[in-house]
């Protein structure tokens, strides 16, 4: 499998990254180099093998569904690029 300039454009869009048109080809080459190297994973016999999803052999812990934190609006807003009257200010998303 290899990616084309068109694929790179699509991946970039999905990643919310901008790639200049003249960079699509070089980037495709770079990604293909890495993907080709990754493809050696195809040599491994994984028939009947469970995928490993966690590095630690334990059940997910449960706790009571109760509020443990909160009431820190100003702390949360302290790092906002833009805020007004206790709200985040973001670009318009609905016309």
């Amino acid at each position: 499998m290899s990616v084309s300039a068109k694929d790179v454009k699509k991946i970039a869009r999905l990643s919310r990254l901008h790639v200049e048109d003249n960079q699509l080809e070089p980037l495709a080459g770079e990604l293909n180099g890495i993907l080709k190297w990754i493809e050696q994973l195809g040599e491994v016999d994984v028939e009947g093998v469970e995928p490993m999803t966690s590095a630690v052999d334990m059940d997910a812990p449960l706790r009571k569904d109760e509020i443990t934190d909160g009431g820190v609006r100003d702390k949360i807003l302290a790092n906002a690029p833009k805020s007004d009257d206790g709200f985040f200010v973001v670009p318009r998303s609905v016309e």
């Binding site: 970039a12 990254l17 980037l27 040599e43 491994v44 999803t53 630690v56 690029p81 670009p91």
Partner: protein, 492 residues
């Protein structure tokens, strides 16, 4: 007074306990060393004033404890560095990236909170590869860190914990926190003649540490000696309900394991841990390590980890996949950098394209690709299955041995700029360290020798999950046998 920066952490703690010097004096000496070492670019943010306040407060606590007969914290008064991936309350945290802007956490990471509770003095935030993605500290938005070890030209300190490693090697701090996703503690330790341990996944809470690849990320210390690394790890570790993968188990007295006998300990030698083009000196050092452990009473056994060569490619699917998901949060809306665009989507794209560096963008795109419809099974699911195979290799090895001895890296530190444009060559640095991340196992790097160019080389011990005790024992035996006392000549 002799130079206090030459002390080990353990020596400095003893000195303060005996009243030979105060934390304020110790901290002052280290601040001076930091100010003299700007060329190394080890720190992103200095907190020298804060450090002096913390030191004075520590001296008062010690006085008070003394008069009331109480004990003091494990790190009481020790000036340390914090990798700038750990959120620190009221102190800017960058993750080595521009995208976090002036982000100043209103909270403290669990790891650094544990250390503060134990009396740490924080000298500053240490430079790193951007979002811990790199093996040379050259991807940092704040410029590369320079290795204090030098050979005619500037060398990299390894990465991603390059600032931590350089600062400890240059005696700028008594020890430092670091993180390891594929080798980011152990490889820089090897490159700088320091000790670095990545504990079992889940020992150190990930809460408040900027996430890269959550199923692989694990914090640990970089230190001057094996015992120092044990003291630091004891403080950093511990159960934290705020991290759902935190292990609920007591933290053992690892410092006491250092120096314990390794008589009868079975050390496995995995035949797959050698690669084409690896310098003969590293092969020779590995043999020397075997002889050292044998002489200390260990039994050497040959083992096989047949899927070793697939570990790096599996890692370069799993880690970017998790990273692409974790880094989706940097959208310029709630914190960090925002670059205004024509509309919402354009603002997202401009923010992320300007905010992230080339390597981070590359990994986000690979991660997005391997998770995308039609490719998920072929790449991501297969990589996770290969990860199971790698973990099984270790399980089989533990039938025959108690710990493994390997080289830490396939090379000595290299020149700044040499590999930065060749991703796969750069990735190969982690070939011997990444397996422990995929399997969640503890691994330590110990400085073992200098190569013909006078540059440090490390050896690695990997242990069973939760068995850091054996790792520390074996590492301590290696440290004793190697007698590595070399320090970089001060040029900075």
């Amino acid at each position: 007074m002799s130079d206090l920066t030459k002390l080990t952490l353990s020596g400095a703690l003893d000195g303060m306990a005996k009243g030979d010097f105060t934390s304020a004096e110790l901290t002052q000496a280290h601040i001076k060393a930091c100010k003299d070492a700007v060329k190394l670019n080890a720190f992103v943010t200095d907190t020298h004033e804060l450090a002096m306040d913390m030191a004075k407060a520590s001296d008062m606590r010690r006085q008070k404890a003394k008069s009331s007969g109480q004990s003091v914290g494990k790190l009481e008064g020790a000036p340390l560095g914090i990798k700038d991936l750990f959120c620190t309350e009221g102190v800017k945290t960058t993750a080595g990236s521009k995208i976090l802007g002036e982000f100043t956490p209103p909270y403290e990471s669990s790891v650094s909170a544990n250390m503060k509770a134990d009396g740490m003095v924080m000298l500053g935030k240490l430079n790193l590869d951007e979002f811990a993605m790199g093996s040379s500290n050259e991807t940092s938005a704040f410029g590369p860190v320079i290795n204090p070890w030098r050979k005619g030209q500037d060398l990299v300190p390894g990465g991603s914990s390059g600032g931590s490693a350089s600062a400890v090697a240059a005696d700028l701090c008594l020890g430092a926190t670091a993180t390891d996703t594929g080798g980011s503690i152990r490889q820089p330790a090897s490159f700088t003649g320091t000790v670095g341990i990545k504990p079992t996944y889940g020992r150190c809470s990930r809460w408040g540490t900027v996430a890269f690849a959550s199923s692989l990320d694990q914090a640990g210390p970089i230190a001057k000696t094996v015992k120092d690394s044990a003291i630091l790890l004891e403080s950093m570790s511990g159960y934290d309900p705020k991290d759902s993968t935190s292990i609920n188990a007591p933290v053992p007295d690892w410092a006491s394991a250092c120096g314990a006998s390794i008589k009868g300990l079975r050390i496995g030698i995995p035949k797959e841990y050698t690669i084409d083009g690896m310098p003969a000196e590293i092969e020779k050092l590995w043999q020397q390590g075997i002889e050292w452990l044998k002489a200390a009473g260990a039994e050497i056994v040959d083992v096989s980890l047949p899927h070793t060569k697939y570990a790096l490619p599996a890692y370069y699917v799993v880690a970017p996949a998790e990273a692409s998901s974790n880094l989706a949060r940097y959208d310029g809306m709630r914190y960090g950098l925002r670059v205004e665009g024509a509309d919402l989507a354009d603002t997202y794209e401009r923010t992320r394209t300007e905010g992230f560096g080339a390597e981070v963008r590359r990994r986000i795109m690979i991660g997005t690709y391997v998770l995308s419809a039609g490719y998920y099974d072929a790449y991501y699911l297969r990589a996770q299955k290969v990860r199971t195979r790698i973990a099984e290799d270790f399980k089989a090895a533990w039938e025959k041995c108690d710990a493994l001895l390997t080289p830490t890296c396939p090379s000595a530190p290299f020149a700044v700029g040499r590999k930065v444009n060749d991703p796969i060559t750069m990735y190969l640095n982690d070939i011997f360290t990444v397996t422990a991340n995929l399997a969640g196992l503890p691994g330590i790097s110990i400085p073992a020798a200098l190569d013909a160019d006078g540059l440090p080389l490390g050896l690695q011990i990997i242990g069973r999950a939760m068995d850091e005790e054996t790792v520390f024992k074996a590492a301590s035996a290696l440290e004793d046998a190697a007698g590595f006392t070399a320090k970089p000549e001060k040029w900075w």
